[in-house]
């Protein structure tokens, strides 16, 4: 399969990564080559095969639904590029 520039830009938009035209044209070639190679998987007969969901068979552990941690908003926001009164600050999202 081949990746065109529009597909690269559309995917980059979904991934929330700004991509310059130069980067997009380089990525077109690289991604096309990688996906061409991955086409090899079409040789495999997967009829009736269950997709893997858990690599080690185990029952997911459960616990009581109760608060076990928290109460330190100061620590949670300590690394934020911008915070105020224990809130993360972002540009206005509602007009």
């Amino acid at each position: 399969m081949s990746f065109d520039s529009a597909t690269v830009q559309k995917t980059a938009r979904l991934a929330r990564i700004a991509v310059t035209d130069d980067e997009a044209s380089r990525l077109e070639g690289e991604l096309s080559k990688i996906f061409d190679w991955a086409e090899m998987l079409n040789e495999v007969d997967v009829e009736g095969v269950e997709p893997m969901t858990s690599v080690m068979p185990m029952d997911l552990k459960k616990r009581q639904d109760e608060v076990t941690d928290g109460g330190y908003a100061e620590k949670v926001t300590a690394n934020a590029p911008e915070s105020e009164d224990h809130f993360f600050v972002v540009p206005k999202v509602v007009e």
């Binding site: 990564i17 690599v55 300590a78 690394n79």
Partner: protein, 491 residues
């Protein structure tokens, strides 16, 4: 090169017990070795003050007869593990200035057992790479060089800082992580021992996530015994990681009996790849001969879906990565680039913060998970994964462990492969199958290439049977008698 830092973990442990030296002396010695080796660029952050403080506490515990299993042992920590109060970057620009307010479970286990932290080790950005060339903090240089050459070689990746630091004797052990070969390939490239335990053996809590269904932590050390000691401390159930398995951690060190008589060692024909170099073939045959000489039985086996593991991996791992890396958005921690609105802020931050390889993989992952493509790529790859695991299950009905080469080549030069993502991906051809099946595998230095650089053999085990890997690995190590060391050109 100073003498104390040349010792293995087991030798340091014995010397500390015999009071031949103190933990503080060990730390001081290691700190000078680290400072003298800055040309290798193995560390992103050195923590000498913390090391001395922890060593002092170790000396106090040793004096009281209260020593843990790693008491006073200086270790390097891959910069993917969160360390409370110490810069943690995953070797990415996007985590600029990030000081975790908490400790990863694996490192907490090491400190509980008395280990001493020397600093945070360089790696590929978010562990995506096979040469340590994708790090925002620059290449790590392999302490090994080709005979008669000054060409800088890669230390492997993604745990390239870990492998280089251990090979250069800056520390006797380092933590590492392995998603497709990131412990074993760098260990093979540097003449060190690396083990990726079974998925679920070590907690992933507090390790920057790359591909959650494949990621596992493990140690890089210079001997099989040291790997056993260190893995014993790193392992164990953790309520904070729902995929960590609640089973007892065996005494791995006790597995080193040297007796493998009657064990069945599988040799998978599919690992005899087209164009395999004669020196890798010869190394593998040497390994087979060592196994026979030790009284094991060689069994030819088939793992028919081997060649599909790498392309399936390059669907599954990027898919999980694209989801895991969504959290780096310039809001909660790390780098922020200003934008005219919040979407612009996200896009600019992620564009400036991620390097080329990370972007490539996030885009691959986003694409294969996007509407209309999920079944064709992700679901298909997960089905292939089931078949790969089934291959191993069948093989392990008749054999105890599987012997393969660790890598298709010895360490290559810096920039030799960095322009061709696909050529770089092929490095993991012998290691990636194991992650896809969740199994444990160890690599052991077994010889030198024609160029005088290390080559490794790999042993693959049944789920949660690391004990067999240590037992057989110890026999490979003894037979190989790998005594070669890199010349101390950096100090």
């Amino acid at each position: 090169m100073s003498k104390l830092s040349d010792l293995t973990i087991a030798e340091m442990r014995d010397g500390l017990a015999a009071k031949s030296f103190s933990a503080s002396e060990l730390a001081t010695d290691s700190i000078s070795a680290v400072e003298a080796a800055r040309d290798l660029n193995a560390f992103v952050t050195e923590t000498p003050e913390k090391a001395l403080e922890m060593a002092k506490a170790s000396d106090a515990r040793l004096a009281k007869g209260d020593a843990g299993s790693l008491e006073g042992i200086p270790l390097g920590i891959k910069d993917l593990f969160c360390t409370e109060g110490v810069l943690t970057t995953a070797s990415s620009h996007i985590l600029d200035g990030y000081i975790p307010p908490y400790e990863s479970t694996v490192t907490a286990n090491l400190w509980r057992d008395g280990a001493v932290m020397l600093g945070k080790l360089n790696c590929d950005e978010f562990a995506m790479g096979s040469s340590n060339e994708t790090s925002y903090y620059g290449n790590v240089i392999n302490p090994w060089r080709r005979d008669g050459s000054n060409t800088p070689l890669v230390p492997g990746g993604s745990s390239g800082g870990s492998s280089a630091a251990v090979a250069a004797r800056l520390c006797p052990g380092a933590t590492a992580t392995d998603t497709g070969g990131s412990i074993r390939q760098p260990a093979a490239f540097t003449g060190t021992v690396g083990i990726k335990p079974t998925y679920g053996r070590c907690s992933r809590w507090g390790i920057a996530a790359f591909a959650s269904s494949l990621d596992q932590a493990g140690p890089i050390t210079r001997t099989v015994r040291d790997a056993a000691i260190m893995l014993g401390s790193m392992s164990g159930h953790d309520e904070k990681d729902s995929t960590s398995v609640d089973i007892a951690v065996p005494n791995f060190e006790a597995a080193l009996t040297g007796d493998i008589r009657g064990m069945k060692i599988g040799i998978p024909k599919e690992y005899r790849i087209d164009g395999m170099s004669s020196e890798i073939e010869a190394l593998w045959q040497q390994g087979i001969d060592w196994m026979k000489a030790a009284g094991a039985e060689i069994v030819d086996i088939s793992l028919p879906h081997t060649k599909y593991a790498l392309p399936a991996y390059y669907i599954v791992a990027p898919a999980e990565a694209s989801s895991n890396l969504a959290r780096y958005d310039g809001v909660k921690y790390g780098l922020r680039e200003q934008g005219k609105d919040i979407t612009d802020l996200y896009e600019k931050t992620r564009s400036a913060g991620f390097g080329a390889e990370v972007k490539r993989r996030v885009l691959i992952g986003t694409y294969v998970l996007s509407a209309g493509y999920y079944d064709a790529y992700y679901l298909k790859a997960q089905k292939v994964r089931t078949l790969i695991k089934r291959d191993f299950e069948r093989a392990f009905e008749t054999v105890d462990t599987i012997l393969t080469p660790a890598t298709p080549t010895a360490a290559f030069g810096i920039a030799e492969k960095s322009d061709d993502p696909l050529a770089m991906y092929l490095n993991d051809i012998f290691t990636v199958t194991v992650n896809m099946a969740g199994l444990p595998a160890i690599t052991i230095p077994a010889g030198l290439s024609g160029e005088g650089t290390p080559l490794g053999l790999q042993l693959i085990g049944k789920a949660f049977d690391e004990v067999t890997l240590f037992r057989v690995g110890g026999v490979v190590e003894d037979a190989a008698g790998f005594e070669a060391k890199p010349d101390n050109w950096w100090a």
